[in-house]
């Protein structure tokens, strides 16, 4: 079969780095082709090339579309040729309605004015194609991430797209939303739209891809038909070694209760309806409490609220190591021995254009003081300790954080939290968007923390991770506790039922 889109021996150099070395890749008409690789393997660079973000002439080698040389000068150029990319960070405008977003920049016109009637009719049709049934006038900001993603895909489809590139589309989605997305992609495939699918989640890749290409260190390692390879084979190709145990949780002896949450209710603002209702749980020293739930169940809000960074308390109590936290700010939470690693590291975790050292010590500066001044030697010593113990891969502490891969950025965020010497650590989706090797390091770190007698609260959208790494699991459902399970009693079915607000009979 001739290839629809083909990259032939592409080499892309940046100052000081060769991001791609003679990479070859081909996409056949009507196939879903998964692109796998650790962070920094060159997936993003390849996508940027295929989508015209790195224009023709900035790389060596050849792109071919429909068996003819293709020279994309810009993103718009690639779009005209039917290539659309859905990025991890969605490019929608939250204040505008769904319909307005769908036609942003290409509004149907009547003379100089927007033809609203046509815009809404067309929008209805397009939205139908991705199976979304929502009011067209809803501001996009009010939709969940999963629905926003569908809107974005709908927007791409409206532009005569033949090739859809999805960069980590499910990183922010809950299982049910993932299922909706995968069904949609299969549906699109049936209608002849080819798809390049980038994901760290091998379950999804194996569920949907026709072929899988693995990149490592900027080179193509392998391309297999999905049927002829295995997860272990792909992982081996990705990391260059086999990972036997993906979830190496070593349970430690639970000690005293370090975090006690009782009957907690909280709302986004003083007069809003509560988003969290009557939530109670406790975490002991040396224990990992997993918190799961669907998107919008209130997991992140719960952590952020306890940490003092979200919402207003309406009822209930939070006690950390004997100290009650009420109307706290992050400053007080940190002082009480609580640290948070946020799910959105770019937004809540890092000052991206500053160096690693700046970010690592940011939460600990007031404790690294000598008189009024910073004790810079103590700071550097502390930074170096976490830089090496977390094995951040970077030339030095003075490397700008924005240039690091996702996994290394995450290590910096974690290091910043741990430098405050917390007793309770909140990890909100700590492995989102990071590669397999880095994930394993995060899991080992969790073991180390509990072995040191710290309490860990782990929020995760991935059931295997939740079940693999938690000693106990609390499932949230629409801001309430939907169920609590010990590690031994947790099954995917029970957890999902609790997340959906149902009790399995004879549980």
């Amino acid at each position: 079969m001739p290839a629809l889109l083909e990259a032939c021996a592409i080499t892309k150099r940046f100052p000081g780095v060769t991001a791609l070395r003679e990479v070859s890749f081909d996409l056949r008409p009507g196939e879903i082709h998964a692109l796998c690789g650790e962070n920094g393997a060159g997936k993003s660079t390849l996508i940027k090339l295929l989508s015209g973000l790195h224009p023709h002439g900035s790389y060596e080698g050849e792109l071919r579309l429909d068996d003819r040389p293709a020279q994309f000068r810009s993103i718009a150029d690639a779009q005209r040729n039917g290539i659309a990319v859905i990025y991890q960070e969605l490019a929608l405008i939250p204040e505008l309605s769904i319909a307005e977003n769908l036609f942003l920049g290409c509004e149907p016109r009547r003379g100089l004015l927007i033809d609203w009637e046509k815009l809404y009719t067309d929008a209805r049709t397009i939205l139908g194609r991705v199976g979304l049934d929502l009011s067209l006038e809803t501001p996009v900001g009010r939709l969940g991430v999963g629905q926003q993603q569908l809107v974005e895909i709908a927007k791409a489809l409206s532009k005569q797209t033949r090739i859809l590139i999805l960069d980590e589309p499910t990183a922010a989605l809950a299982e049910r939303e993932v299922e909706i997305l995968l069904t949609l992609l299969r549906d699109l495939r049936a209608r002849g739209i080819a798809c390049i699918y980038i994901s760290h989640k091998l379950d999804e890749v194996f569920a949907i891809a026709d072929r899988i290409t693995v990149l490592r260190d900027g080179a193509t390692i392998s391309t297999h038909a999905t049927a002829t390879t295995s997860k272990n084979g792909v992982i081996r190709d990705m990391v260059g070694r086999e990972i036997k145990d993906l979830f190496p949780r070593v349970a430690s002896q639970p000690g005293d209760v370090l975090l006690q949450v009782s009957h907690l209710s909280a709302a986004p603002s003083p007069n809003a309806p509560p988003r969290l209702h009557d939530i109670s749980f406790a975490v002991r020293a040396g224990e990992v409490l997993g918190i799961g739930g669907l998107m919008g169940a209130g997991r992140t809000e719960l952590l952020m609220h306890i940490f003092g960074a979200w919402g207003v308390r309406q009822d209930g109590q939070v006690v950390i190591d004997g100290l009650s936290l009420h109307d706290a700010t992050p400053v007080q939470a940190l002082a009480a021995g609580l640290a948070l690693v946020s799910e959105d590291r770019k937004r809540y975790g890092l000052v991206l254009d500053r160096d690693i050292g700046f970010n690592l010590s940011l939460s600990s500066l007031t404790r690294l003081r000598r008189g009024l001044l910073l004790d810079e030697e103590a700071e550097v010593r502390a930074n170096q300790k976490f830089f090496s113990s977390l094995r951040v891969k970077a030339p030095s502490l003075e490397t700008v954080v924005g240039t690091l891969s996702g996994g290394n950025q995450q290590k910096v965020v974690i290091g910043k939290a741990l430098m405050t010497d917390p007793r309770v650590v909140f990890l909100d989706e700590p492995t989102r968007g990071i590669d397999v090797g880095a994930k394993l390091e995060v899991y080992e770190l969790v073991n180390r923390l509990t072995a040191e007698g710290k309490a860990v609260v782990l929020v995760s959208s991935e059931l295997p991770e939740l079940m693999g790494m938690s000693d106990r699991i609390v499932m949230l459902h629409e801001g309430r506790v939907g169920g609590e399970f010990t590690r031994a009693r947790a099954t995917p079915e029970k957890l999902l039922a609790a997340a959906l607000g149902r009790q399995l009979s004879a549980a």
Partner: protein, 375 residues
């Protein structure tokens, strides 16, 4: 830190040389000892205010009210000295206290009520201007009653005698060399890269040359003007605050990513209010200096100084989005602004053209900031 010279640094130096060359040719007096001495006083005043502005731009805010504030604070001191016959040092105290209070209040409004700094300080610009004119009753209020010099008028008419000036420069160089050597040793012991010994020497050597040249020039006139010493002190303090305290780090963090700073436990509100309060203190210093330099508090003292201060920051590489900017850059930016304004005054350029030139420079600087931020 390891030195990296960027195209931006070079273009700054080039524009400064171009400005100086142009005015030197257009007006032979431009490079005279007398004028350079005056230029250094004007630089000191502009740069001092700009360093205060840096403190609020770093966390991503702005202040449009400092120009009016300069007039008001100078006016308060002048009225106390001239109309109420207070001794000058005593008159400074309430003036400074008022400035600290006003800017504490503005900072509080900005962070607690979440009103954009632009709006609050635009209101401040008008309010302080009105208050200023009320205080001086739209008269001209001399800073020294009967022309007898007092501490107020001496602010811009005192010169460190030539011999003492040489001595001071020697001390400053000694301090710089010590700090550089100790810094290098410490960085090396912590395993960081350091500048080549040659480059470090070259930097110190050039600094020494520049300082010596400056002192040679001003000594031809009367010595180092007091405002330059004040600027030196203010710059030292701001440098220590921004580079060597948790507060300074927090300023950069808030400007770089306010949400991340908040979640990281940076007391965002306290830090921003602190920055505005410090700016208030600097407005007071600038107000006293600028009023003294005019010889009297008149309705135009402080006009458009907020724009010169912002322009100096931006020209010197401070990002209006926050998170980026250095003390040395701001002083350099102020030097370009002061050189331009001084040259135009010397050439008796009409006020109309002066306004236009200031506007063009400010626009160009912001345009450059946006251009560079996009990369």
């Amino acid at each position: 830190m390891k030195t990296k010279f960027s195209a931006r640094d070079f273009s700054l130096i080039l524009s400064l040389v171009a400005v100086w060359a142009f005015f030197a040719v257009a007006s032979p007096q431009y490079l005279s000892a007398r004028n350079l001495s005056a230029l250094s006083v004007e630089l000191a005043i502009t740069a001092t205010l700009a360093l205060g502005m840096l403190l609020v731009i770093l966390p991503g805010h702005i202040d449009l009210s400092v120009g009016s504030g300069v007039g008001l604070i100078g006016g308060i001191a002048a009225v106390l000295v001239f109309n109420h016959h207070w001794p000058a040092p005593l008159a400074f105290l309430p003036a400074i206290a008022v400035a600290l209070l006003i800017w504490f209040a503005q900072g509080t409004l900005i962070v607690r009520e979440r009103i954009p700094a632009f709006i609050i300080t635009l209101g401040g610009l008008l309010i302080f201007k009105g208050a200023f004119w009320l205080v001086i009753n739209t008269h001209t209020v001399p800073v020294a009653p009967g022309g007898r010099p007092n501490l107020f008028s001496l602010l811009t008419t005192y010169y460190l005698p030539p011999l003492a000036s040489y001595g001071l420069i020697a001390l400053v160089m000694l301090a710089l060399i010590t700090v550089t050597l100790r810094g290098r040793k410490r960085r090396a012991s912590l395993g960081f890269e350091v500048d080549d010994a040659e480059l470090a020497f070259l930097k110190l050597f050039l600094t020494a040359q520049a300082l010596l040249l400056f002192v040679l020039c001003v000594n031809q006139f009367r010595g180092i003007p007091l405002p330059v010493l004040i600027l030196g002190l203010v710059a030292l303090v701001i440098q220590i605050i921004t580079r060597h305290t948790p507060f300074g780090r927090h300023l950069y963090a808030i400007g770089g990513n306010e949400e991340a700073a908040f979640v990281s436990g940076v007391p965002v509100q306290r830090v921003v209010i602190g920055a505005y309060t410090l700016l208030g203190g600097i407005v007071a210093i600038t107000g006293l200096l600028q009023t003294a330099y005019s010889g009297a508090s008149t309705t135009t003292v402080g006009d458009s100084m907020e724009l010169d201060a912002i322009a100096a920051c931006v020209i010197g590489g401070t990002s209006l989005r926050g998170g980026r900017g250095t003390v040395l850059g701001v002083i350099f930016g102020a030097l370009i602004m002061a050189s331009l304004l001084n040259g135009m005054t010397l050439l008796a350029v009409s006020p109309e053209l002066k306004f236009i030139a200031r506007g063009v420079v400010l626009t160009l600087a912001v345009w450059m900031d946006v251009k560079l931020a996009k990369r």
